[in-house]
Amino acid sequence: METIRVEGLTKSYAGTAALSAIDFAARAGTVLGLLGPNGSGKTTTVRILSTLLHPDEGRAWVSGHDVAADPDRVRAAIGLTGQYAAVDDELSGQQNLELIGRLLGLSRAGARERATELIERFQLEAAARRMAKTYSGGMRRRLDVAASLVGRPRVLFLDEPTTGLDPRSRSEVWALVRELVKDGVTVLLTTQYLEEADQLANDLVVLNQGRVVATGTPTELKARVGGLTLEVRVLDRARCTEVAGYLTAISGSEATVDQDTGLIGAPAGDAKSLRLLAQRLEDADVPFVELALRQATLDEVFFALTGRVEPTAAPEAVAAGAVEGSHR
């Protein structure tokens, strides 16, 4: 069952294409992560889906209503938390929420009750009567999300909800999203943090330069890009080259050594290689601090899909290319 459906959505600003015929869908009661670098079209997509922007071409449905033909019904079904906390600095937290409640047709008492409810849920009781301009970044963001929930939306758009937040506030937002999904809300979340997408999203749509470059679950995407990686970090940096040799022999492909971290890694076919390497290290009496077999990270997926070279991998890639070139 799809709560959001997007077909051939196209939008350009002054001749520059922001979105080029994108398609995707979000299942009811799940988190869809819209992942992409700056300028990839994430915010444009959210603005179209929340009826703030008209697409040039294509159609989109939210909760079964066409965003262009029936915007009021879409607005009645959604909550929007934009990139910047859209709260009135000179009103208190309570007053901000009451204002939204009144606009949504609640009575004075009803709006007050709903505001108090959300203030409690978002742990803003102590600051409820203070002007929002005195709030910290995390509190503002919580108030902002609370404001988008006043109307009990079935679909929530969160545009980079954790950008600029400290790690603690970030995990608070994550906990909140999980809680909302548990209540059956469908969440569309944009982010440029891969960890966030990995943590929260059931499905991912990777955008790059206004096009969908991949869709799937985080696990699927990781599996698509690469298999497993075997990594080891030895205690004695002097023995890095020696260990890289062992790893190369086991893996069958050249092991890489990260000079900054001392991490030695190579692609691994299966779990057996882990045991082999552990055995080899023991035989050679090399003490290690870290030994792991891991799946490709979403970062690797992201860089592979968007064609951006992972900064730490760049020198190695160049080096590998040079070696290859000299063989020919």
């Binding site: 069952m1 459906r5 703030l52 909760s63 079964g64 990139q83 009135d88 204002l99 109307g151 079935r154």
Partner: protein, 271 residues
């Protein structure tokens, strides 16, 4: 298609979605009142600048223009009220611009409410502050020696006329607030546009002392027309005040006719 599946619970449409322009506007305008209640000193601040200017002009020009400061005050105060009708609308432009800038406008527009409510609310919402500031200036004038020679009803009409003119000028400020890129540039642009209105007028000196080209402008300037009306309504003579009031209302009509469509167009472009 599954998105139109009836089992997807259709969100209840709040009754106010359509035709709720008035109620939505009033609720949004109430935002300004809430702020005014929690910081009533805002009224004093907005009256402070015109009061200081009034005292300054009175002390500097009183002797030269009218022979005495107290005589000049009788002439000056209505002019200051009229000037302030122009200057005090800056807030409207800044308010709307900062709402757009901060994304508050996006939030309102993502709600099922009347499209123009957030726009009109900025104008309606600032009226109480403007009314309070006007009254404060008037009361201060009384304290420093200004005297009316008419009746309370005329005074009330004078205050309402000030508000009508500032309501009209609000649309100018609104248009600028919608066009300007940053809140900081709003006040500068509004000032630039309102300066010729505020000072190219009979607010400080009689029109007959102005150069010819400025006299021509002053005669159709809404601020001058308002000043004439207020002078008649507060200090008399009341004969001829009716035509002054009528001209002022007509001038407001012209401002509406030009700037309401401009503001609506700017709104359509900005969002």
């Amino acid at each position: 298609m599954s998105v139109t599946d009836p089992s997807v619970r259709p969100a209840p449409l709040t009754g106010a979605v359509r035709g709720g322009l008035l109620s939505h506007t009033l609720i949004l305008a109430g935002r300004n009142l809430t702020k005014l209640r929690s910081a009533p000193q805002l009224v004093v601040f907005s009256a402070l600048q015109p009061i200081i200017m009034m005292l300054l002009f009175m002390v500097l020009f009183g002797g030269a223009v009218s022979g005495s400061q107290s005589d000049y005050l009788q002439f000056l105060l209505p002019g200051m009220l009229a000037q302030n009708a122009a200057f005090m609308v800056t807030n409207v432009g800044q308010g709307i611009n900062s709402d757009i800038e901060k994304g508050i406008f996006d939030r309102f527009r993502s709600l099922p409410i009347a499209r123009s409510a957030p726009l009109v609310a900025h104008i309606i919402g600032d009226l109480p502050r403007q009314a309070a500031a006007t009254v404060v200036i008037l009361v201060f004038g009384f304290c420093v020696g200004f005297r009316t020679h008419t009746n309370p009803f005329s005074i009330l009409v004078a205050v309402l006329l000030v508000l009508l003119v500032s309501f009209a000028f609000s649309w100018i400020a609104l248009t600028i607030g919608l066009v300007a890129k940053k809140p900081e540039s709003v006040s500068m642009l509004v000032m630039m546009l309102l300066f010729p209105l505020a000072f190219g007028s009979n607010t400080l000196v009689g029109t007959s002392t102005l150069p010819g080209w400025l006299q021509a402008w002053s005669k159709i300037n809404p601020v001058s027309l308002l000043t004439d009306s207020i002078r008649g309504l507060l200090t008399g003579p009341t004969s001829g005040v009716g035509s002054h009031v009528l001209s002022t209302v007509l001038a407001c009509g012209v401002v509406f006719a030009v700037f309401v469509p401009l503001a609506i167009r700017a709104y359509g472009r900005r969002i």
